[in-house]
């Protein structure tokens, strides 16, 4: 980037950079809380970056650079406008990353500030952290809801092939805490191990269960460290932590950015928007819900994320923790019975999507009782195309 662009007056740049991020709120709530709305002067910083080994563009491409810059600004001003027709996309392929999933149409553009986690963009963003949040959206859905006395965690478990087992996405941390993950499951596993270790150490010293709120803060601080070291990368996993405290039942969401929020109900991962919409309609009743109603709501929300595919206990996992009930994962038979019970009633019509293709139902998963899903596994059903795992 030329140090001071003669084509863009400095004061104009300042104006353009100081746009607020509030319109990005629905998909990126963390931006409101984590970043200052007032951006620093962008182009004024350029001279200081001379020494860095940023690629110097050839003279002819400065036109392109300016266009891409305007692209960035276009995105901020009008996120709904799609600047990319198919032909334009080819021209700007160096600078933008567009994900083609049905629900989450977020456009992230490549830029020169996204190589390092320790590099700020002129607009005051840490792009590596934002990309880590994107990784969470790539994982399969995880849902959590809580009432006054119980917390239910549910997740969609799809195996890569019929031959393999599915990924473990729900972990017991202690008798009173459990976590569901979405994103890079390896990172999730490591963080679960950390949580278990913290819970056990606290119990050893104080003979008392670790309060969930404190565990979540420790987790968030651990994630924050990775956003501020040049030799680390942020954890690419979002965690839904559910547990019991002396102050009641709690559900928290931990981001890769190091933020955490408490929720009545939440969903993360791919196609989670459908589940969130369902939960938003119903969450006001959750506080007083019974355990059974809560589990039913979790299953229905899970079904929403499947978008037409039949909900079977072999592709989802449910875990419960409550007063007098230690954290445990429900076994397949129980879950299948619960699914059958409410599918007969069918109070909510599932989102109707045409079947995109045929795929035999997942069967013979390692360690899973295939006999439990006997009625489905025996007859391969036409399913939608396999989703990202």
């Amino acid at each position: 980037m030329t140090p001071i662009s003669p084509h863009k007056p400095a004061h104009l740049c300042l104006l353009q950079s100081s746009l607020s991020y509030s319109h990005l709120a629905p998909s990126n709530p963390f931006l409101i809380l984590a970043y200052d709305k007032i951006a620093v002067a962008s182009h004024r910083l350029e001279p200081m970056r001379k020494g860095k080994r940023k690629k110097k563009p050839s003279p002819g491409s400065s036109q392109r650079e300016r266009e891409s810059q305007s692209h960035l600004l276009e995105q901020k001003e009008n996120p709904n406008k799609n600047p990319h027709s198919f032909t334009e996309r080819e021209r700007h392929c160096d600078f933008c990353l567009e994900r083609e999933t049905k629900n989450d149409a977020v456009k992230m553009f490549r830029n020169q500030y996204d190589t390092d986690v320790t590099t700020w963009s002129p607009a005051g963003r840490l792009f590596q952290v934002e990309y880590a949040m994107e990784a969470v959206k790539q994982g399969s859905a995880a849902i959590g809801l809580r009432s006054k006395t119980h917390v239910v965690l549910a997740c969609v478990n799809k195996a890569n092939s019929e031959l393999s087992s599915h990924q473990k996405k729900i972990f017991k941390v202690d008798d009173h805490i459990g976590v569901a993950i979405a994103g890079l499951t390896a990172d999730g596993r490591v963080l679960s191990r950390y949580m278990r270790s913290e819970a056990i150490n606290y119990n050893y010293t104080y003979e008392s269960p670790l309060p969930v709120g404190r565990l979540v803060v420790q987790l968030a601080d651990k994630a924050q460290v990775c956003t501020q070291r040049s030799w680390k990368r942020p954890y690419g996993v979002g965690l839904l932590v559910g547990g019991l405290d002396e102050s009641g039942a709690h559900l928290y969401y931990n981001c890769p950015s190091g933020n955490y929020f408490e929720y009545q109900a939440f969903a993360i991962g791919s196609r989670s928007q459908a589940a969130k919409t369902y939960l938003e309609r119903r969450f006001e009743n959750f506080t007083g819900s019974t355990r059974e109603d809560l589990i039913k709501d979790a299953l229905i929300a899970t079904r929403e994320t499947l978008q037409g595919e039949k909900l079977r206990s072999s592709i989802c996992t449910i875990a419960v923790v409550g007063v007098g009930e230690p954290f445990h994962i429900l076994d397949q038979d129980t879950v299948q019975k619960l699914i059958d019970a409410f599918e007969i009633v069918q109070d909510e019509a599932p989102a109707a999507e045409p079947d995109a293709g045929a795929e035999p139902a997942a069967a013979a998963e390692e360690g899973e009782g295939s006999g439990a899903g006997a009625d489905q596994a025996a007859v391969p059903e036409p399913d939608v195309a396999p989703m990202d795992i």
């Binding site: 050893y204 104080y206 008392s208």
Partner: protein, 242 residues
């Protein structure tokens, strides 16, 4: 402290040993019991320097956080160090500011860990501790010794109190003592200790902890009776030249 462990021949070390080998200024027994609303604890205010009753205004019971009361016998300086540890513990607990707080059970267990760890390093905190408290209606009374032995009971005592006070408590303690009954029972135990324990002084405090909080009484003395006929002419049966 740790470096002393790795050096052989501690006595050759010009700094000398840094471990606790003997207690110097010590407090005597602490007696405590559960009653209807919480815990009652009694301790006298003496600090002995060996066999001399040197300090007579030592407070051996202190509140810890919102829910607990700690009483100690043994080395007074080690008790003060423990209070500093607990101060820091409670401070960090409060700094979380999240509606959770450490109750008597948690503090008791923390103290057990501290005492046991120090014992393992051969550098004990030379105390016997009594930890009592009430949290959310649950009464808790426990004891930790200098080697990390810990237990919970309805009535506990340290030092001489184990031998002189506990038999009385075993006979006369029952559930749901009123405050007056509890105080009377404790005073009975303290009187026996005053007569029979040579390191007891006649200046004691009684403290109580309930759901509302901690109250430590002003120091006061027990009435004693020495008018036994055998004391009137002690040398009656055995005259001697001195």
């Amino acid at each position: 402290m740790e470096s002393n462990q790795s050096k052989p021949g501690l006595l050759c070390n010009p700094e000398g040993s840094q471990r606790t080998l003997y207690p110097y200024v010590t407090g005597t027994s602490v007696v405590a019991l559960k009653y209807k609303d919480g815990i009652l604890m009694a301790a006298d205010m003496g600090g002995s320097y060996g066999s001399t009753l040197r300090y007579k205004s030592v407070e051996r019971m202190k509140p810890v956080g919102k829910h607990s009361l700690l009483g100690a016998s043994g080395e007074i300086s080690d008790f003060q160090e423990l209070l500093r540890y607990l101060d820091e513990l409670i401070l960090y607990d409060n700094m979380w500011d999240d509606g959770n707080s450490l109750g008597p059970k948690e503090v008791h267990n923390y103290l057990t860990r501290v005492m046991y760890n120090r014992r393992n390093k051969f550098n004990p905190l030379w105390n016997s501790l009594v930890l009592g408290g009430v949290k959310k209606g649950q009464k808790y009374l426990g004891m930790v010794s200098m080697i990390g032995v810990n237990f919970e009971d309805n009535h506990v005592a340290t030092g001489f109190g184990n031998h002189l006070a506990r038999p009385i408590l075993r006979d006369e303690w029952h559930e749901n003592l009123t405050f007056e009954e509890g105080v009377k029972l404790l005073e009975k135990c303290m009187r026996v200790l005053l007569y029979r324990d040579r390191s007891a002084v006649n200046k004691l405090q009684i403290s109580k902890i309930t759901e509302e909080g901690v109250t430590i009484s002003q120091p006061y003395s027990l009435k004693t009776f020495w008018g036994f006929s055998a004391f009137e002419n002690p040398t009656l049966g055995a005259e001697g030249s001195w």
